[in-house]
Symmetry: C2
Subunit: 488 residues, 2 copies
């Protein structure tokens, strides 16, 4: 088992005066001050009864306090269960129970969902924790790479959301793999407009402490703040999803960004070619990447030097990673499987599913792609049914399970349809048992159970669900019919 | 156990056309061509009967072929035992036997020591291997970080030389630790004028394949070639020992090096302050480092940004490493102990010594130093008796053991004395039993057994060895007496 010094303690020793966090509001933390705040926060959490090995729900929007909380978890040796801020109380409680969470920490004081959660579990606001006295405990001075640090939820083709476990090692190898690919400059500053509760945002926080590099932290994406950050705040790298890149390019207009802005790392699903070409025209170094919650963020990334030559590709797997296409000869189009020390060991308390998904170290992603003759990855579609909407992953199965529960619904199929704003949005095709089942009726019934971004933008009523010979639903038929206007 | 793709195969996939090796003679290998040559070399070695797990002596001077051999060992899964080119046949045979070496590979065709070795063990010239047909074997496609890759010899305060085992993981973590400290630039090119059979040179070869960075390889140090490399061959980093840095600064005179030359990494013992100050004056970014064979090269290194402010310091331990001073409060001057994933697991087949040297992951270095109030390491002296002569470590015990065997010698103590060319050189203080024991007599007797750089530059005859109350030899008394001219 590999052991190393605690990352934040070590970075505070190496780079005490280097900025660890900057925000558009002018907040600044150095590695020394972040270390002091985080260790103190851990001791305050300890005073509330939180201890090593506990599973702590974190229900928060991006903030310096959230990063303090993230590091405090590692000082305690507690596991962070990161909850999507957009979920309903019902969805949150599912994950809280599933992950054996014993306390929830939040910065969402006046949220009615918090009131709902409080009926079942202790929920403490960050400010409440900060008011506690510190308890004299031995905080972790070392990190064991095999220990679990975070749990983040994702869904599958069938069944309920599953908690992806990340060890410290998974996060470490992800950060190192990224550095070997994008290199490391003394002047690097990485902008995080993505939520830290998703692995795409969280991983920036890890790179910051491992590299000794400032994170430029946005509470949430704002095109004005991001534009300003790249133009005037010396940001050199930014992680974005398609919709953010589109807005930034529109804002940029005929201008260009400073040359020091060396990478716009684009994740969260295939990018429209028009976006990549516009980026090329404006000399914005858009670098496409492919990753999953299970791979602790990026797994394959285009090198800057290939960005323009291999437009549309997600590059090659990072140095520690291996990737294969599940065809007889690793050629042509097939399922993408991946292996490496940044790949999760499995889903929390889902041993059977974990064993099916990860075989001899290879994770079966369900995503479809091919490698070109130089070994560059082109992702054709994320898991055949996955809907990526403004960077959020939406799993039809989860919506279908909810709508099926509505009385009067016989069958339901959820598919993604193109949307000019979000890339893709979910719609539902329902076979009803009775006439009283209307769009409004269904939407009202499911509202308490689904985060708003998952709620279908339209409910279509169809006479029959199209199925193939093996009785499998033909989602693409529904998508085409909707596109052609045959289903209304 | 952490598994990753084979480093060279992976880098050949990521950066096929990037230069892996450049030499002053204009030789160039790309990662693709180096990969092809190395894999072919492994298959040719296999044809000679070399197989996975074998211990292979490598007795070679720096050359592209030697790097090919280094990677071929990893394709076979064989262990490389790296032999110092300056040793006598007698010293070589000791290491060969001790490390259970079954074959020796060399580029020293016409060397009489090779003829001597051939009496005991198969010795193949690289050119002989290259003439073999290739054997169809499965070469290693993955690397397991726990596997042993190299063995390199070092000596201790007492006893014979010991084989330090390095796993792939030790070399990996060393390379990553260095990158996090010195950062990684797209344009980096690292000059290696140090022998690859020492860990200081070998580690550059590892960084090259892990970073995807060219190594600028010198057969041996030449001030003209190094000067030219920095001035005109776009070298950005160079590893040197004191004597090399001094010669380079002398050659540089009143001029300066290009700004792109960002680091002269100075290892191999404490540097004279005058050198560091002269470097400062000429704006040569001399960065002092502290490392041992046991730490797989650098363990602590000054960051460039602190180079001028903390002159004389070896900086702070690299990110994955921990360092303590063995005093009751980690303050003041004491023995340096180190821990981290780049630290060896032990000495080959020396379990008792390994257990004594490495306790709970902490390696007791025997070196003496202190940390200043900002945590910067100052190394006062390497292991109290260690003599560092032109970058080579010389262990008095080894010389003493040899001289003790000479008939007529009663007692012998070897100490280092200052030398304007080499920094330090060994001299011996002998108590003889008889008058026929002269300097010439002793030198002739030990010559077959000691590499020339280890042979004492003077043999002094003394009436009695100075010892303290506990009967321990007072080496410093001898050193002072010699300095004052009281011993002649």
């Amino acid at each position: 088992m590999t052991t190393m010094p605690h990352w934040l303690t070590k970075q505070a020793e190496l780079s005490p005066h280097v900025k660890a966090i900057e925000t558009p509001q002018g907040e600044v933390e150095t590695f020394r001050s972040l270390q002091e705040r985080s260790e103190a926060f851990a001791r305050k959490m300890a005073h509330l009864g939180i201890k090593k090995g506990d599973h702590i729900g974190v229900f928060a929007t991006n903030s310096t306090s959230m990063i303090v909380c993230i590091h405090a978890l590692s000082y305690l040796g507690a596991v962070g269960v990161f909850l999507n801020i957009r979920l309903t109380a019902h969805e949150l409680m599912y994950q809280i129970k599933d992950a054996d969470v014993t306390y929830v920490l939040t910065n969402q004081q006046d949220d009615e969902r918090v009131e709902e959660l409080e009926k079942h579990i202790p929920v403490y606001d960050f400010s409440h924790v900060n008011k506690q006295p510190t308890k004299q405990i031995d905080v972790q001075s070392e990190i064991h790479l095999n220990d679990v640090y975070t749990i983040m939820y994702t869904s599958g083709t069938t069944g309920a959301p599953k908690g992806v476990m990340h060890t410290y090692g998974n996060h470490w190898w992800s950060a190192v793999g990224s550095a070997l690919n994008l290199k490391l400059h003394e002047s690097d500053k990485w902008a995080a407009p993505l939520p830290l509760f998703h692995v795409g945002g969280f991983s920036i926080c890890m790179r910051s402490v491992i590299y000794g590099m400032p994170i430029y932290l946005l509470e949430k994406f704002s095109v004005e703040e991001m534009h300003e950050a790249i133009l005037h705040k010396h940001v050199t790298i930014a992680s974005v999803v398609t919709i953010m890149a589109e807005k930034l390019l529109k804002k940029l207009g005929e201008n260009t960004y400073p040359e020091t802005f060396r990478c716009m790392l684009l994740g969260g699903g295939a990018a429209p070619k028009s976006l990549l070409e516009q980026g090329k025209k404006r000399q914005v170094p858009i670098v496409q990447t492919y990753g999953l919650t299970e791979t602790s963020s990026q797994f394959a990334t285009l090198q800057s030097s290939d960005a323009m030559r291999k437009i549309g590709s997600s590059g090659k797997p990072l140095f520690p990673g291996q990737l294969k296409i599940m065809t007889p000869d690793n050629q042509g189009i097939g399922e993408i499987i991946v292996k490496g020390p940044m790949v999760t060991n499995g889903y929390y308390q889902k041993e059977a599913i974990s064993k099916r998904s990860i075989q001899e170290g290879w994770l079966y992603t369900g995503d479809v792609g091919r490698l070109d003759d130089e070994g560059f990855l082109y992702v054709y579609e994320r898991r055949s049914d996955l809907i990526i909407s403004g960077g959020e992953n939406i799993y039809p199965s989860e919506i279908e399970e909810t709508i099926k529960e509505v009385p009067g619904v016989a069958e339901v199929t959820v598919v993604g349809v193109e949307d000019s704003t979000w890339g893709s949005v979910p719609v539902a095709c329902v076979v009803s048992k009775d006439k009283y089942v209307t769009e409004k009726y269904i939407l009202e019934a499911i509202e308490p159970f689904l985060a708003s971004y998952k709620v279908p933008k339209r409910i279509y009523f169809i006479a029959e669900t199209p199925r193939n010979a093996t009785n499998k639903i033909m989602r693409h038929v529904l998508q085409e019919e909707i596109k052609k206007g045959h289903i209304t």
